[in-house]
């Protein structure tokens, strides 16, 4: 069976027209879209204002929801180690709208993040 594609974009708001929120752990919303049908769901990031470990919490959410690829601007070391251990692809996009990010994903023009690019927070 082909695994269903679920792409998560960190977002400023809860819809496809919203701008990308570049910080993974502290982003406001997550938008999870199916790149083929453009069907999507969104939810608030509960960890956006919590104390520490926001990246771990956000990564756990991705894993729980079976996300296959994450599109965001920056990921800290803890979150990155979880995402890569689970085989979630991390792709870079720091600007533009969520919909634009999904189309860029479809054309394969997003750059893959190979290592954490934010210092994270203790």
């Amino acid at each position: 069976m082909v695994k269903e594609m679920k792409v998560c974009i960190t977002s400023m708001s809860d819809n496809l027209e919203a701008s990308i929120d570049p910080h993974f752990g502290r982003c406001r919303y997550f938008v999870i879209a199916d790149p083929d049908s453009m069907e999507f769901e969104s939810f608030e990031n509960a960890g956006s204002s919590g104390p520490g470990g926001a990246g771990v919490q956000a990564a756990q959410q991705m894993i729980n929801r079976g996300v296959t690829a994450l599109i965001t601007g920056s990921v800290g070391p803890n979150a990155f180690s979880l995402l890569s251990a689970e085989g979630v692809e991390v792709l870079m996009a720091a600007e533009g709208s969520v919909a634009e990010a999904v189309s860029a994903y479809r054309t394969g023009s997003l750059k893959k993040l190979e290592a954490p690019n934010s210092p994270g927070k203790k």
Partner: protein, 285 residues
């Protein structure tokens, strides 16, 4: 009586104040809570012995027993745990060692391990000042448990004077150091930056409900913003330490300045009396 010396940022002369105050009073217990950089003894130069280890309980997860139910993850308020499809993963740098995940796990997959994260040390009995210090090992992220354990060695009792040298800043280790103190001396410099950091520190001690006063160190730089702020907010300025070459030279040689400029012992003692009076009057109100 427990008096803490704190400041909104490092390098303002906090340790200088703590050490000189301790030496002026004489019979005190001095607790160096700046466990990431204990430096009181750079000035006291006492022989120090190890007193005890600081042991933090850390969870160890058995991947074979874990059924990936995620209960531990939900429980951990520090987000130190995550569960992958291959099993659980612990982030020791985020773990506060509360032990909750071990209790919550329905499969008993989490057991308690221990990690020595620091050490408590004490000066020998013949030292001028009964100095206690904690040291957080390099690479260990949690200063607060070391501070809390260090503070369990405080002697409470009638007539005991305890001076606590807090770490700089306003984060958790500062709160851990200031908890339960009777008074806080905030040390600052007469500069716009000093004022900014002072205001942050004032917010913390006010929230904690600790009576406090301010010492202006390196006074005489021509900026009066700190004094204006203190006066307008009814904050007592306890002492002004002048920006004097002799004090700077003694500091750089690691000599507490009251040892050579002995008239300052009197100034510190008088300030100590003022502090005691302020503590009493707050207690009465």
């Amino acid at each position: 009586m427990k008096i803490a010396v704190a400041s909104g940022k490092g390098g303002t002369g906090k340790t200088t104040v703590a050490v000189n105050l301790a030496l002026s009073i004489g019979k005190v217990q001095l607790i160096d809570c700046d466990v990431e950089e204990p430096d009181c003894n750079l000035f006291l130069r006492s022989d120090i012995d190890k007193y005890q280890d600081v042991i933090l309980p850390v969870p160890r997860v058995d991947g074979n027993k874990c059924i990936q139910c995620g209960k531990c993850v939900q429980f951990c308020q520090y987000n130190a745990l995550a569960v992958l499809s291959s099993g659980p993963m612990l982030f020791p740098q985020l773990c506060h060692g509360c032990g909750g995940c071990m209790l919550i796990c329905p499969e008993n997959a989490i057991t308690e391990d221990e990690r020595i994260t620091g050490v408590i040390e004490r000066s020998r009995s013949d030292a001028r000042i009964d100095l206690w210090q904690g040291e957080l090992f390099t690479g260990e992220p949690m200063a607060s448990p070391v501070i809390r354990q260090l503070k369990t060695n405080i002697r409470e009792g009638e007539g005991e004077v305890v001076i606590i040298d807090s770490p700089p800043g306003t984060a958790c280790p500062v709160i851990a150091s200031l908890r339960d103190v009777d008074y806080c001396i905030l040390v600052t410099e007469p500069t716009p930056f000093g004022l900014n950091d002072l205001m942050l520190a004032v917010e913390v001690v006010r929230q904690m409900g600790i009576p406090f006063g301010v010492i202006i160190n390196r006074n005489g730089m021509g900026y009066d913003g700190v004094e204006v702020y203190c006066n307008s907010g009814d904050i007592p300025v306890l002492m002004k330490i002048p920006d004097k070459r002799q004090i700077a030279v003694l500091y750089s040689e690691g000599i507490p300045f009251v040892m050579q400029m002995t008239e300052w012992k009197g100034h510190f003692l008088k300030m100590f009396e003022d502090v005691c009076r302020q503590i009493l009057s707050t207690k009465e109100n």
